[in-house]
Amino acid sequence: MKRKKLLTVLLAGALTLSCMACGGSEGTTSNTDGATDGTATEAADDTAADSTSETGDKLVIWTLSNDLIDFGKRFEEQTGTPVETIVIEPANYPTKVQTALLAGEKEPDIIVGEPKMLEDFYDAGFFADLNEFGAQDYADQIVDYVWEVGQDADGIQRAISYQITPAGIYYRRDIAKEVFGTDDPEEIGKLFADYPTILNTAQELKAAGYRIFSSDAEMNVFSGDSAWVVDGVLNVDQSRIDYMDLCVQLYQGDLTAYANQWSTPWYQAMAGEVPILTADIQNYADDSVNVWDAEQFAEATQGMDTTEVFAFGLPSWGVLTLRDNVKDTSGLWGVCAGPAYGFDGGTYIGISSNSERKDTAWEFVKFCTLNEETADWWIEYSQGDSVSLKSALEKHKDDANEVYGGQKLYEFWLGQAEGIDTSKVTRYDQAIGDAWGNAISAIKTGEKTKDDAIAEFYDVIESTYPDITVNR
C-alpha cells in the first residue's frame, strides 16, 4: 500500500514539477526572446539583411576559442556596450552555427571560423559583406594572407583575424652551434631549404649523435606549398612527392626519435634528452612501451639509447607550447624558416548576416583586428601570440623573447606571413591531406609499395569527392 501511495505522489509531483519547470523556463525566456519577438514575425526565413534597426545596444558573440571572451570584456569596458560571449567547443561549432543560422536565428551578431570551415560558411552566406562597412579602407593594415583568407571566392571581405599563424622551425641553438658551427636563424634556415637538404641535415645530426626531429610529421605544416585542387582537378605536385619521400626516408633511415606528435616523448623532447624509440613502438606494433605515460615510459625505455632532438615544425602558436614545456632548455631555442611557407589555424571574426546590430558588430570587428591599442594589449596579455595588425608587429619587432635566446620573433613571423600564398588553400585540404598522410604511413611502414599507396590515395579521393577530376 505504501508504495502505491508513494508512486502516486511521485507521479503527481512529476507532473506538477514538469509544468513548473516549463512555466519557469518560459518566464525566463520571455525576456530573451523579447528581442526576436518584435521583429521575427514568423518570417524567420527572410534573412532581412537590410533591416538594420537597432534592437537594444548589445552584442552577442558565438565563438570557438576563449580569446574572444577577453576581447569582449575589454570592448565592454571601453564602449559600455554589453557583450555576451558564448563559447562552443570547436568540434561542434560548425553544427551549431549552421543549424541556427539556416533556421534564421538572429541572435549572434559576431560569428567566427577557422580557415578550414570558412569556405563552407562563405558559401552558405553566414557572413555579412564587410565591404559595405568600408572594410577595404583598412586593407593595407592587416597582413596580406589573413586579409585574403577572409575573402570569399568573389573577393568580398567576409571575416578578419586578429592573429597570424605562419609556420616556422623551432631549433636548439646549442646543438646547432656544436654540429653546424652557427646558431644564426638565416644559416640554419638554409639547412631546411628543401626536402633533400633536410635529409642531409638529418644524416649529419645523426652522425653527431642527435636526431633532427622527434616525429616524422614535423614538416607537415610546410607541405601545403601547392594547391591540392586546381580548377577542379586533383593536383599532386612534385613537392608533395618530395615530402612523402622525406617522411619515408626519415622513418626508414632511423633519423627521428620515433615519437608521435603530441605524445609524451614528443613533449619531453622539448626539454632535453629522450630515448630513441623503435619504429614498432611508434606504430603501436610493439606495445611494451606506453608512450602516453611518462613513468611507465621511463621504465620501459631504460637502457635504450637516448638522444636530444634538434627541431620542431609548428605554427607561430608553437611559441606558447614550447614555452610551457622546454623547462631547462629555456633560452636555448631559436626559430627559423622552413622549406616553404605555411600556416595553420587562426580565428577569423565576421558579422552574422542575420544580425540586427551590424553596426555595433562592425565596431567590434574593428576593435579586435584593426585597433593598435588592442593589439598591444593582446600581445602582452597572451604572452606571445602574434597579431595580424602590421603596425603592431612593426612596433613590437624589437621585442626579444628570452625562451628563444632573445630572438626578435615578431619581425620573423611578419616575414613568414608575407610569404604565404593563400591561393594554395582549398576547402579540401584537410581531407586530402589526411588521405595523403595515410598513404605516407602505409609506405614508410612497408605495408604498401609507393605505387600501390598512391593508387589507393587516388581511389579515396575519387570516391570522397566525385566532382574532382583525378588524372593518374
Binding site: 507532473l15 514539477l17 521575427a40 576563449n66 533556421a103
Partner: protein, 277 residues
C-alpha cells in the same frame, strides 16, 4: 568442505576482486586526475593525488558556475525522465493489454521510429523552435521526452511478461475505472521495469549534449555537458586537462546517486510479487 572448495572460492574471489578493480580503476583515475595539473596529466600516469585541486577548481569556476550547470541539467533531466517513465508505461500498457484496430500497426511504427536517429531533423527542429519562440528554453528538451519509442518497446514486452490480464479484469469487475486500475495496479507491478528504463533515460538526458548545444544560446542556461565542452575550447587545451577531469568527476555524482537509489528500488520491487499486493 575440502581444500578443493577453498581453492575454488579463493580463485572466485580473486577474479571478482580483479573485475572490481578493472571497473573502479577508471573512476579512481578520474578522481586522481582531477587533482593534477594539465602538464602532469599529459606527462605521466599515477594513482597518487597531486596538489592542484584548488587550481583546477578555480579554472572550472573561472569559465562557468558548475553548480548552475548542474541545476540546469536537473531541471531538464528530472522532468524529462519522469515524463518518459509515465507516458511510456501508459503507452506500453495500452499496446499490450487492449485489443483495437491498428494496434499492431502502431507497434510496428514505434519499432520503425526506434531506428531513425534523432539528429536528422536538427535544422527543422531548430526552425520549429524559433517560430514557437522556444529557443533558449528547456521545453524542447523536456516535452519530446514523452515520446520514447525504445522505452515503450521495452516496457511493452515487460508488461506482457509480468502482468496477468486476469488481474486487470478482476479490478474491472470490482468497478475500477481504466485509469484507476492503471495507476493502482499496473504501475506498481511495472515499477521494476520502469525504474530500469528511468535510469537509462536519466543518464541519457543528463549526458545529452547535441540538442542542448543547439537549442541553448545563453551561458547561464547551458546544461552541464555543454558547459564542460567549452573547457575544451580553450586556446591551450593542455592546461585545462585537470579542470576537465574535475568537472567530469563532479558531474558524475548525480548519476551515481540516481543509480544507487534506483537499483535499490529495482531489487526491492523484484522481491515483492504482484499477488501479495
Amino acid at each position: 568442505m575440502g581444500t578443493g572448495f577453498k581453492i575454488k572460492k579463493a580463485i572466485l574471489y580473486i577474479l571478482l576482486i580483479l573485475l572490481g578493480a578493472v571497473c573502479l580503476l577508471p573512476f579512481l583515475l578520474m578522481l586522481v586526475n582531477a587533482t593534477r595539473s594539465g602538464v602532469e596529466i599529459v606527462n605521466s600516469f599515477t594513482l597518487i593525488p597531486s596538489t592542484h585541486l584548488k587550481e583546477n577548481w578555480d579554472t572550472v569556476f573561472k569559465f562557468f558556475n558548475l553548480f548552475q550547470g548542474m541545476w540546469n541539467s536537473i531541471k531538464v533531466a528530472v522532468p524529462a525522465t519522469l515524463l518518459t517513465a509515465y507516458f511510456s508505461a501508459l503507452t506500453a500498457y495500452g499496446l499490450a493489454m487492449y485489443e483495437f484496430k491498428g494496434n499492431k500497426f502502431i507497434f510496428t511504427m514505434i519499432l520503425v521510429f526506434m531506428m531513425i536517429p534523432g539528429q536528422l531533423g536538427l535544422i527543422g527542429f531548430y526552425n520549429l523552435c524559433t517560430r514557437l519562440h522556444l529557443v533558449n528554453s528547456y521545453i524542447p528538451l523536456i516535452i519530446p521526452a514523452i515520446a520514447a519509442p525504445g522505452t515503450v518497446f521495452f516496457l511493452r514486452q515487460y508488461v506482457l511478461s509480468v502482468l496477468p490480464p486476469s488481474l486487470v479484469e478482476a479490478a474491472r469487475i470490482d468497478g475500477a475505472s481504466e485509469l484507476y486500475s492503471f495507476h493502482r495496479i499496473v504501475l506498481p507491478i511495472m515499477s521494476p521495469g520502469i525504474a530500469t528504463m528511468a535510469i537509462m533515460a536519466f543518464i541519457g538526458n543528463w549526458n545529452n549534449y547535441l540538442l542542448p548545444m543547439i537549442i541553448l544560446n545563453k551561458n547561464e542556461k547551458f546544461t552541464l555537458p555543454v558547459m564542460m565542452a567549452t573547457l575544451k575550447a580553450s586556446t591551450d587545451i593542455q592546461s585545462n586537462q585537470g579542470a576537465i577531469y574535475l568537472a567530469v568527476a563532479i558531474s558524475v555524482i548525480p548519476i551515481l546517486l540516481v543509480f544507487c537509489f534506483c537499483s535499490k528500488y529495482i531489487i526491492s520491487s523484484i522481491s515483492a510479487g504482484s499477488v501479495k499486493e
